[in-house]
Symmetry: none
Subunit: 194 residues, 4 copies
């Protein structure tokens, strides 16, 4: 990895939590120089503009989520258990190397949808990728006789994702962990009933 690549990586690592917490518009260049200890020139030497950093930060945060999920899924065998990984992880953010500030897809979706088409696109792609992944797992589970044959994989996948994201929002907002536990239990029930 060249010096430039290391610096880019460093900038992304240090700024990704800020973008995830304060949002794109709420994160200033000054926040970025403070977080990295670098100068403005150094940031602009490695990225073409703030957008460029924000986009890379989103990717970084997303990859972090993905890595946690993948790692946890690798430890279980059935598709039902794999689906249950989602609620397990999202119910216990802090026990995993999850991005500070919560779910980057949710955070980005809400800020970017009316204001930042590029970020919106990235968030939309992430949701669709996530949904497709869940759909495939359900399909395999059906083929495997784990799940009922009449299950609608897309409907189930979207419902799981929507409910998780809603739970994340509610918990972050109210600070009530038992709210999250209750909602996650509903999802677990849904998965058990497949």
């Amino acid at each position: 990895m060249s010096k430039a690549e290391r610096t880019k990586q460093f900038i992304v690592e240090k700024t990704a939590p800020i973008f995830n917490k304060k949002g794109y518009a709420g994160t200033s260049l000054n926040d970025m120089i403070e977080a990295t200890g670098l100068t403005k020139g150094s940031i602009y030497g490695n990225f073409v503009n703030k957008d460029d950093v924000a986009l890379a930060a989103f990717d970084f945060n997303l990859k972090k989520v993905d890595a946690v999920i993948r790692q946890e899924m690798a430890t279980v065998n059935t598709y039902r258990e794999k689906l249950l990984v989602y609620t397990k992880v999202y119910e216990n953010f802090y026990e995993f190397p999850f991005p500070e500030g919560g779910c980057p897809v949710l955070n980005t979706a809400i800020e970017a949808d009316d204001t930042h088409p590029e970020l919106k696109k990235k968030a939309a792609d992430a949701i669709i990728y996530w949904k497709e992944k869940v759909v495939r797992m359900i399909q395999k589970g059906i083929a495997n006789n784990e799940f009922a044959a009449n299950t609608d994989p897309e409907q189930v996948a979207l419902t799981i994702i929507a409910t998780i994201e809603g739970a994340v929002m509610i918990t972050k907002l109210t600070g009530k962990l038992n709210y999250r536990r209750a909602i996650m239990k509903s999802i677990d029930r849904l998965i058990h009933d497949l």
Copy 2:
């Protein structure tokens, strides 16, 4: 209503959709004077600062949602039908006088949670108020023998709310109306199975 009160009301009405779309940080005083046709002095004469307007705009947007829900609920009789009003309304924003920019609780929750304690508080209160309202309806439905006696009202209420908000986010992000329909169908099923 005094002249001052009418002006305040006018400012709130005109700016509320902007705050809901662009967010608190993304809405500038200039956006506000453009939307109202008033002068800066006039806005500052009626509100102490931008925060003050934003808070009032949130209340206004929330009341708009509440009015739609109440009105629809008044047209049905059973508690099951009343619960089904939520999916009906949230699946067809545009057919109701719903706030432009989507669900104000969701929008505000995500932006404000790490940055604006006062707005966060309002959004949290709204969620809790909403949850309590659903809880009470379920309790009454149980008392009424509409719903099974072993239903956990809070868990169901939170799950419904979380899933609706997740559906709103996903639909706005991806633009796929069939995604929303699929998720809302899951919620309707959940309500039917109570």
Copy 3:
């Protein structure tokens, strides 16, 4: 004149000499706040951007030249004498309220031709307006039997203007006042021979 109009006028008056000396690109916002004693916000409250000030400053400088020329022309009677006003004025900048930094048309023409289409347009219009004015005076002089009937008014007008501007450039560059005197004498001869 409203307060805003007075401030605009004040900004133009104070910055016009700077634009004429340093050019559009060479004049910074800081130069402008220093020259006016105002703040950035005040300048941007009265002009939409730096361009807007530069365009107004050009007009101001041009009007200053025009006023001097008109005033001097009013004191003489024949068209020959009127034409001789140009050399008299351009040979003695400092005795007239002429814009600091020299001829604004020349200064603007050279900077703007490859870089700033709006300013270029203004300078081009000024040159064409100037030429038309001289053409009309020559035509009237011919009609009046002051000048030879076979004079080509446009050729003469353009030659006078080109030579004056060349003289201004050479004098400013070399600092040699006798160079200017020599060139102006050639123009005067040309006018006498019409």
Copy 4:
């Protein structure tokens, strides 16, 4: 020519047209690295700073003009014909290897006179050198009985130069080639009448 000398020459060749079009202040280091394909380090290894390149670029552009003039003058015999070379060349830039962006003396004179003493000095020297050259040709033409004995060589030289530069400015500004033709005809007449 050493490697270093070749690189210097290469940088000057590639940047000279940019300085002539955009001016000293308007040409950035980035313009220079783009034009040359070299790195910043490479430019700073061969020149002490931007000034240093600008000065060399001016010399390069000037030499280019001079070469064209010399070459054309070599093809004719009388001093009158030699003087007429100026109008011929300046009337048909594009048929000669003339610097892109027009006359470098004029361009530099206007930008540098109030802002850049070193460049101003170079432009002033160029004008004086040019004038001296024309003066010498006229003196020889007088000695030769080509021109009238009472001709004032310096006045004529300065007038020719001023008028040419004015014509260049007017044409570039207005885009009217017939304006240039008319002015050049006046100069040709002046030369014929010597």
